[in-house]
Amino acid sequence: MDAILQAAVNGLVAGAILALPAIGFTAMFAVLRFPNFAVAAFATLGAYGGWMANAWLGWPVVAALLAAFVLAGAAGAVTQRVALDALRPAGPLTVAIAAIAANVILENVLRFAFGNDLLGFDLPLARDVRFGSLRIGPQQIENLILAVAVMAALFAFLAFTRIGKAMRATADNPDLARLKGIEPRRVELLAVFVGAGLCGAGGMLLGLDTSIDPLTGFRIVLSVFAAAVVGGLGSIPGAVAGALLIGLAEELATLAIAPTYKSAIGFVAILLTLSLRPRGLLGERAY
């Protein structure tokens, strides 16, 4: 029983971190209508960005997180402008393939610059806090708070700012949005910036807890896709729910099956969702 509770706590923390890139992926999909498979590289880029800010410039975690967001977001926007935009008339699958190519390029830019060595943040590690038989790490709590804060900021951005509303409007009804004077290209670029930025923030939180190398993002990418699909592609609350679910499922599953199959949980979740409820938990296009 304790084991289950403990795994559940771990799963929720993992899920909260997973939620950021999952939101990013789903938000980009909602506005641009193609799956941007470069999310792995965006997450890795964010991890390196945060690390540079922290280890080189000595920035504190929150500032570094902002740096991670901005760097990954900028990379996303540049990728979109330079490589992907021109391919959109050829259909979403072509863009998705190009996004994979972009992922390979970005990952190798990092490899070129930093090599394959592991990097770690300059932060003290603390022992876990115990609540009865449950334990949770201060870093986890901090990550949880940061993840929730980023999500809250995102929801506030979408709910209260003019441009955030314009983003939702474009995802909802692009033709009408254009008619109302909302510049689609600007909104799309913003969506990519925010989406890739969230991936970057998620990547950095991941790096905080663990370590960073050019494959940091790749390791979680299947779980991210699973979270987005389970929640319903294009639905932001869905991505949050999906991420928590996948986080929980991955941790709980280690109690039942070999831990080596953790990565396969996402795949199974995707298959189950598509077979039983193809539009995901919350359906597509819901905000």
């Binding site: 795994a7 060595d117 115990r130 807890d209 390791r219 280690t254």
Partner: protein, 400 residues
């Protein structure tokens, strides 16, 4: 810590560049050179070891060339990347064997790469010197074209089990990712512990996960007094952090190839790794060859692989000198003549070749140990090095 890793990269970059630029000119001047190659993981999972390994071999070749080469010929060393990936390894090996026509390939690291490349080597009569440890490798029908300087898993784990018992641990939990030696590691440890009345629990984990909290929980439920962390550096970093967070108070032991200075720097907090034991086939600490490797690489504690590949290069060059023939078969037939069986003790190829040319019998004692091989190509006995991390530094406990 960051400075360190960058400096390392830059230095290897310069070395590699210099090697590739300098070589052709020398070759033209000398006619038909002797061709050798390193095939190390410059990228991928072993990417942090390969570059230094390649450099160590390159330096040996450089020294020999400076001293006039072997059999009056220059030695040309080609360095390829196996990407820690057997498919890429096979493609690279093909190129080395077919295009570069090398007579020896040195330094293959991952067991899977070695297993994939070995058949190409024995079929083309190319010597293969490896640092991979999986038992299965020397059991391949390699017809003598393979030697390894790394003790095999059986030897390693048996010794480790004895040591663990000597530390007073009775309940040992092994946490290990899926690798070629995973099964044997668990089985051998189990057997070793049983002999001393110990007990083992084990868990195989996925080495690509960002956190191992639940896995650690599972380990703690076994109530171990020692955890054997048998992964590679990247996953062991994560694992040790999570073990620390979980408040584990028992002992931890791991392999020195993963728990090294890099890992300590990585974790960055002495407390987390304080008291962790490491275990490794010992480089011949204090041996003169070992001191040379230190100088070449600029590392305080050169890792065993770098030492081993340094030995590969020396052995191969001396074997060529002894056979008066640079073919793979010649190397196969004469490598044991220079590595063992008594004679003048030498610690580098320049001295060795001089002695051989003078008609002396030599016995190489390398940076990784005495370098004596049995018929299968396995190293005969080997010293092991036991260290413990004390305030962020690896402190030597014993070599035995």
């Amino acid at each position: 810590m960051r400075d360190r890793s960058i400096r390392l990269t830059r230095r290897t970059a310069l070395a590699a560049g210099a090697a590739s630029l300098a070589m052709p000119a020398v070759v033209r001047a000398q006619g038909e050179p002797i061709r050798l190659a390193t095939l190390t993981p410059l990228t991928g999972g072993g990417g942090s070891y390969g570059p230094v390994m390649a450099k160590a071999a390159a330096t040996v070749v450089e020294e020999v060339n400076k001293a006039g080469g072997v059999l009056g010929r220059r030695v040309q060393l080609t360095s390829e990347d196996d990407q820690t990936n057997p498919e890429a390894g096979v493609r690279a090996a093909r190129k080395l064997i077919d295009v570069d026509k090398v007579s020896a390939i040195m330094g293959t690291w991952a067991s899977s790469v070695t297993t994939a490349v070995a058949p190409l080597c024995w079929e083309s009569k190319t010597m293969l010197c490896t640092v991979s440890g999986a038992d299965s490798i020397t059991l391949l029908p390699h017809q003598g074209y393979l030697i390894r300087t790394q003790p095999n898993s059986t030897l390693q784990i048996t010794r480790l089990g004895e040591y663990v018992l000597s530390l007073g641990a009775k309940r040992v939990f092994q946490m290990i990712p899926q690798t070629p030696f995973t099964q044997s590691s668990i089985k051998l440890m189990e057997a070793a512990l049983k002999k001393g009345g110990g007990e083992q629990g084990s868990l195989i984990y996925d080495d690509k996960k960002p956190t191992y909290r639940t896995e650690v929980d599972q380990a703690l439920r076994f109530n171990p007094d020692l955890i054997f962390a048998a992964g590679y550096t990247p996953d062991t970093v994560v694992l040790l952090k999570d073990i620390y967070r979980a408040g584990f108070k028992g002992k931890i032991i791991g392999m020195a190839y993963s728990i090294n200075q890099k890992l300590i720097d990585q974790i960055g907090q002495a407390e987390v790794v304080e008291g962790v034991y490491t275990f490794a086939p010992s480089p011949a600490e204090g041996a003169t060859a070992y001191e040379r490797v230190k100088k070449i690489t600029g590392m305080d504690n050169p890792d065993p692989y770098t030492c081993q590949v340094y030995d590969h290069a020396n052995l191969v060059l001396m074997a060529i000198a002894a056979a008066k023939d640079a073919s793979g078969t010649a190397i196969r037939d004469s490598v044991r003549k220079v590595s063992q069986g008594g004679g003048k003790t030498v610690d580098n190829a320049v001295d060795g070749i001089k002695a051989i040319t003078a008609g002396e019998k030599v016995d190489y004692v390398g940076a990784s140990g005495p370098c004596d091989f049995d018929d299968k190509g396995d190293i005969i006995d080997c010293k092991f090095r036991y260290e413990q991390i004390k305030s962020g530094k690896l402190a030597l406990l014993k070599i035995a």
